[in-house]
Amino acid sequence: MITVIAIVTDGLVYAAWLFVVAIGLTLIFGVMKILNVAHGAFYAFGAYAAATAIGLYFDRGWPVVGGYLAIATAAIAIGLLMGYILERVFLRRVYGKDEVVVVLITYALFLILEDVLILIWGTDGRSAYQPYTEAGSFTVGGLPLSVYDIGLVGFAALLAIAASYTIKKTTFGRLLTAVIYDRETAAAFGVDVSRVYTVTFLVGAVLGALGGALTAPKISVTPGLGVEVIVLAFAVVAIGGMGSMEGALVGALIVGLFRAGAVHLIPQLELFSIYAVMALVLVFRPQGLFSRAQPRKI
């Protein structure tokens, strides 16, 4: 029984983390048709910014609860700054260009930003564990669980609800949907596509940074952490369907639960399980589980 509890909770925690990381990636792809490799850099900068903010905050002996606010503030600030610079300086110039060119540009930006990160923060790892350790733990069925981890599951659930509400119930969401379906038609109807792109990229960047910022209290923040994440995020997005938020959620859940099951039951297959699921899904649905049917353009 304890193993079942462990698989479910571990799967949910891992899925929550994956979803927070992947949702920004899939949002940018869905709206802008950009496979943004630089998303890994948003994640890494978010983690470093949060680690720095947490360090500054807790060094002053301020209350623990404010530390979580420091994480969010750091992520939003760095996400907005990076997103704005990248979109204005680089991506705006290549909208409408071949997707391969855009991917190469984001890949180049990712590599450059990895070095920028080292220039700013150095090569030494950074620790910012207080928000994780101070949150404490509780026990379910004999299994100790971290409050921070379960909080992450709650946050991911709220994020999914907020994303769904925004897309379906708000004016901006409807504009977004119009651009997703057909950019040119949306523009013909007076939608300011350029503005939609800018806002989308900024939101995606903030979500990527938030993923890193929320992970920072759990890990030793070191250069190179964005590389690991971007590969996993791509796997999740590919399973769910490129550009689909529901797909990102379901993809994250599938990967999270399969991985947790593998760790507990057949640990040798941990890594294999993630990519085996991806391969299996893509064999039967190459467009992913939730990808929309594409209108044929003549």
Partner: protein, 440 residues
Amino acid sequence: MQGMTASAWWVRKVSVAALLAAMPAVAGAQTAPAVPPVKLGLVTFLTGPAAGPFGIPGRNSAEIMIEMLNAGKVPAPYATAGLAGATIVPKFVDEAGSSANQVTEFRNLVQRDGMNAVVGYISSGNCLAVAPVAEELKALTVFWDCGTPRIFEERPLKYVFRATPHATMDNVAAARYVLKKFPDLASFSGINQNYAWGQDSWRDFVAAMKALAPKATVDKELLPKLFAGEFGAEISALLTTNSKVVHSSFWDGDLESFIVQSGARGLPARSTMVYTAGETAMFRLGAKIPDGTIIGARGPHGVMAPDTPLNRWFRQVYEDRFATAPTYPAYHMAQSILGLKAAWEKAAAAKGGQQPAIDDVVKAFEGIEFEGPSAKIRMAIGNGHQGIADIAYGSFRFNKAEGKPEIVDIVRYPAECVNPPANMTSTAWLEAGMPGAKCN
């Protein structure tokens, strides 16, 4: 000579003659064959997750050792300048990237940059990839930190040396220390990174436990990928066992992340953790490491090092320069460079003080014994290419009164107690029950 007196003419002639006579001496002094510098390639992680805890301490150690050796300021027996009088000119290369990339960089160092020797590599995967290329290029190569025992066990190597003992020593000593603490241990688990270092470490620990405590069984055997960072599921899996001991050869950010995540979920309250490379994290994490955690330093390094003049000097110059204590990677780098110097100067002495050829250094390096900052190294196994040394293990304690971490209950194991003999591979020795081990 118009307008010049006879005496003035003679003065001038004598002066010119004297000048001409002196010229060969001056010219000779200017062109006397200077000792050419020794170009030394140094490969270590300068970026990436392994840079902070491993690569940078190694680089820092190399920086001060080379500077001090060139200035002749290292205490005896290394007080002579450079390598037999030749100035060491270092070139640092980042170890980050794939093994294939490291092979390319190694070729560049040897073939393009003309390095006389290379001291390099933290990752066992990189050592395994570079070793055959070093042989192909006949390039003197000293591995300074990678731990896999397979380097010299899978094939004989001529140009490759490793002055730091391999992982078998770490894990045999860990098993001995664990059984000293828990003589009736019924079961244990392990979490190690899924590549050469992690797999070899776990294999050796299990084999040593089987030899020393045949009734102890393995509960969980976890091998997450390198640099995974997130270990929630693995910690749950370990929490569902009854293991009194959990073995881990984690290093870098994975080590620190695992310590924090497992601590927050109470794993150390159920199982005593054994970190064979834990010393690198003790100053960075301090009180985050639970008291009683068993800590290794891949040798008698750092706070477990003996108080010798060479060690005191090394710690002092390192702390003065970098404002932090040297951890074991710094020791590994220092002893690798000192091993190279010992071999170089032995070869030079055999040639009457002349600079030796690389093949002379290779010959001198085989089977050499030399003093490291923390232990005597004997190149006793791997056909004289692999060093062995004593090792120490201890238990972590955070000294709240002084606000600093410390290691207590330190036990030292002689080299022959924890290393295979020259005529056996690690695996064969462990499977045979460690015959010939001398622990007293």
